[in-house]
């Protein structure tokens, strides 16, 4: 779809206007205008996010909760408003179900500890997929090694989709207690059929956790419509600051789970003998929370809502289609991930050139892509490669940038020919 066509569908969506909201996009790298195609690793920040954080630090800041003074009351309000914003963003039934963590990784570890060690039957298995990010592998391996639970891995198809027959087979014995699966692969771009996964998991007596670190950035998520039990994402990929992640879980689960980290703010009363836990979500938020980061994340969500997640999704879909077509046309380019339903990341390899050399030579042309295993080493083995390059797109990415990528890649190919 052309930019004009997108503009017709989402009349408000103007990628050039959006770009002007991101100061960093005016930067040059190696004498060339920055072409930032690494948003799946971390997105750039719009002025609205930067300003919200500056505004807090310059005009309204104190520690939150229990501060009886004006600055603390106002800061608490701003921070707790972020919780409302996230609850709306995920269509969570209640704001009490939103737990702030430091990143998506901590959110998954929290579940592995408080649910996996605290509540789950150790005779049950955890089922992940072959395309998980390390953040959704290692915590379960650690649980396995510590508690002896079984870890199952669902295979993927040649297109990079979940192998549905395999998935059902792995659920069939009713011994899976938790399905922990990505909602969108950070390597293949594959968007998994969340609703269908949740239904199958529940039918097999398992709960389901979605790693939405990528998905939540690229499309509207509705945890109730999906039927999820746990959903996690991370602020810095959603145009927000680092230092904040989100765990959403059904209240009933959070109530049953013991706390994870202990400290201030997560107790209701303490003696040296005994502590009583605070109500959810505070039970899971020990210590001073990411106050400035919450304020930044709320601004990021407001920004995304203003632009429109649907518009962003459509823009990225058009870019992805275009990128797939452009890159496939280059001799020796191999693309990984051809799922029907996919988001804005395109992972590729170039014959006769190592991904690291590709990334470095693109960098010399001002283009930022990622190369390596993308924190999905087991998937690399499944794909039979050591390392791949990845271009990923955001609301501010343009067709011209993808053209530039294709041209630069063509040069790299010829350089190595």
């Amino acid at each position: 779809m052309s930019q004009a066509a997108i503009a017709m569908v989402h009349p408000g969506f103007d990628v050039f206007a959006i770009r002007r909201e991101f100061p960093i996009l005016a930067e040059s790298v190696r004498g060339k205008p920055l072409i930032y195609l690494d948003s799946a690793a971390s997105a750039q920040k719009p002025r609205a996010v930067i300003e919200a954080m500056v505004q807090a630090m310059e005009h309204q800041y104190a520690n939150v909760h229990r501060g009886l003074h004006w600055m603390s009351e106002r800061t608490t309000e701003a921070f707790e408003t972020a919780r409302d914003a996230v609850a709306r963003f995920l269509n969570a039934p209640s704001r009490e179900e939103i737990v702030f963590t430091k990143n998506a990784t901590e959110a998954i570890n929290l579940v592995a500890h408080a649910y996996g060690r605290g509540v789950m039957d150790p005779a049950k298995a955890v089922l992940i997929s072959a395309m998980e990010h390390h953040a959704n592998i290692i915590p379960w391996q650690m649980l396995r090694d510590e508690r002896g639970i079984e870890l199952r891995v669902c295979p993927i198809t040649a297109e990079g989709e979940l192998d549905w027959a395999g998935f059902e087979r792995l659920l069939a014995d009713g011994r899976v207690g938790l399905v922990a699966i990505t909602h969108m692969s950070n390597v293949l771009g594959t968007v998994t059929p969340a609703e269908r996964i949740a239904r199958a998991a529940h039918d097999a007596g398992a709960l389901v956790l979605f790693d939405g670190s990528q998905a939540a950035v690229h499309r509207r998520v509705d945890v109730q419509a999906i039927g999820a039990d746990f959903y996690v994402f991370t602020g810095h990929k959603l145009y927000g600051p680092t230092g904040i992640g989100v765990l959403w879980a059904r209240a009933e689960l959070l109530e049953r789970m013991p706390p994870f980290l202990g400290g201030g703010d997560m107790i209701s009363s303490v003696s040296f003998e005994k502590a009583e836990w605070a109500r959810i979500p505070h039970k899971f938020e020990a210590g001073t929370p990411p106050i400035l980061e919450g304020i930044g994340l709320a601004a990021a969500i407001a920004w995304v809502e203003r632009v429109g997640l649907e518009a962003i999704e459509e823009h990225e879909r058009a870019l992805t289609d275009f990128a797939l077509a452009r890159l496939s046309a280059i001799e020796g380019v191999r693309i990984f991930g051809r799922a029907q339903d996919r988001g804005g990341v395109v992972t590729f390899a170039l014959d006769r050139a190592h991904a690291h050399d590709v990334a470095t030579l693109l960098d010399r042309q001002g283009i930022a892509v990622r190369a390596g295993h993308h924190c999905a080493e087991p998937l690399m083995r499944v794909l039979g490669v050591d390392s791949t390059a990845r271009a990923s797109f955001a609301a501010y990415t343009t067709r011209a940038e993808i053209d530039a990528l294709a041209e630069a890649l063509e040069r790299v190919r010829r350089f190595f020919a």
Binding site: R30, H354, A355, D357, L361, G372, H373, E377, D386, F415
Partner: protein, 157 residues
Amino acid sequence: MTDAFADLRDLYQEVILDHGRHPRNFRRLGPPARHAKGDNPMCGDRVEVWVRLEEGERIAEAAFEGRGCAISIASASLMTETVRGKSAKQARALADAFRTLVRTGRCPMCGGVHAEDLERLRPLSGVAEYPSRVKCATLAWHALEAALAGEATATSA
């Protein structure tokens, strides 16, 4: 190739491309050659290095096998050439000088005894701009040092 690639070639000089494409001494050596592996799990680069020593601990022959990016393969290949004929001690000194070269881009020892060897290695100095790629260039050297020390594996710093 033409000048059209000047911007790429300032980092990947011809010698790197050449050694990357056609690595020298790319083979195994049988016993009694010493041998070590180097592994850079971060990027999947992997080399194995063999050294055959002769009288007075001099390196009679060095060889390697492995896979990785052009930088790591070229670096390994150039290494096997430059260390030939050196004593173990000299090779270690060269390794140190080389690490300084690729970490800082500067070559304080280029005027010293290993001037000529370091000149041959100098095309790799451009990686200093890319701290995360420095490991690619130093991997084979770490493996070499491990082999000389009689250790089996080295992991690039």
